[in-house]
């Protein structure tokens, strides 16, 4: 077919700040979307064991992390490889308007979906202009 093919980028290593576990950690691809009420984030984390998923918001920094389920690779020997296997981690500076108590997270089909609602006072308000 001649339609544009979906492409795939090689996974990038998460930053120079090393973790304590051995093994490379990669940045998951994300989409970030904003409406008047909330910020939304979707992160591709295929193969992650949901029990290892960790989402934190501290001092205006959102951290998402997850570990790959290594059991799925038991007794396998690599023959040909196109994607890297590893744990995921990524951090974002988010506006202080995000209400940390109301963050909702869901992992579906290997995608972490986050909704970060904005605190009431942060929502945009229209200011009426009256004519005199």
């Amino acid at each position: 077919m001649t339609e544009k093919e979906l492409s795939v980028r090689e996974k990038q290593e998460a930053s120079a700040q090393e973790g304590t576990r051995a093994g490379h950690t990669y940045l998951p691809d994300v989409d970030i979307y904003e409406t008047a009420d909330s910020m939304y984030l979707w992160a591709d984390m295929p193969g992650v064991d949901e029990n290892t998923l960790n989402i934190g918001l501290e001092d205006g920094v959102l951290t998402i992390e997850g570990q790959v389920a290594l059991k799925d690779y038991e007794r396998l020997a690599p023959v040909y490889s196109e994607y890297k296997v590893g744990n995921y981690e990524r951090r974002f500076t988010v506006s202080r308007d995000v209400d940390a108590d109301r963050i909702a997270a869901r992992l579906t089909n290997g995608v972490l979906a986050l909704e970060l609602p904005k605190a009431e006072r942060a929502k945009p308000r229209q200011i009426k202009i009256t004519q005199n």
């Binding site: 492409s7 989409d31 904003e34 591709d44 690779y73 020997a77 023959v79 590893g86 089909n109």
Partner: protein
């Protein structure tokens, strides 16, 4: 033939790093035996492994619901196709778009000694795993060594 087989229980500290190094050696090998995967760099990416029973193909398909995924076999060709959706609520705008959405299809050529009629596919956490066992006669046979 490879000597490495991933055994995470034997290497709990460095297990992941060891697997990553072996994957590095298999990175986009152009003539990885009979495997020819057309169009690497195209979604979805595949990793091919072998295990004692045959070949295991693992495909990263995050954001693809199992009912949007199709795996078909025609002779020695395995085709993986489907649709990846990126949902977003109304009335807002994207700040970042790193995840592509749309239809995809990839074809893989399988080696000769596989029993394609016994191909199995399973899906979990955005990963598709396709197992294709070797034909009985292609499995390794133990040859006993007699003392002379």
């Amino acid at each position: 033939m490879t000597f490495f087989r991933f055994m995470p229980e034997l290497d709990p500290v460095n297990g992941l790093l060891t697997l990553q190094r072996e994957l590095e050696r298999a990175w986009q090998r152009p003539f990885a035996g009979p495997w020819t995967a057309s169009g690497h760099g195209v979604f979805p990416p595949v990793n091919v492994f072998n295990d004692p029973d045959g070949y295991v193909v693992r495909v990263e398909v995050p954001g693809v619901a199992p009912d949007q995924l199709k795996v078909e076999g025609h002779g020695r060709t395995l085709t993986i196709s489907g649709t990846r959706t990126a949902e977003a609520p109304q009335g807002g705008s994207f700040h970042r778009r790193e995840r592509s959405a749309g239809e995809f299809a990839r074809a893989l050529q399988l080696p000769e000694d596989l029993d394609v009629t016994r191909t199995e596919a399973s899906y979990k956490h955005g990963m598709l795993t396709i197992r294709v066992p070797k034909r009985e006669e292609a499995k390794p046979r133990q040859i006993s060594v007699k003392a002379a």
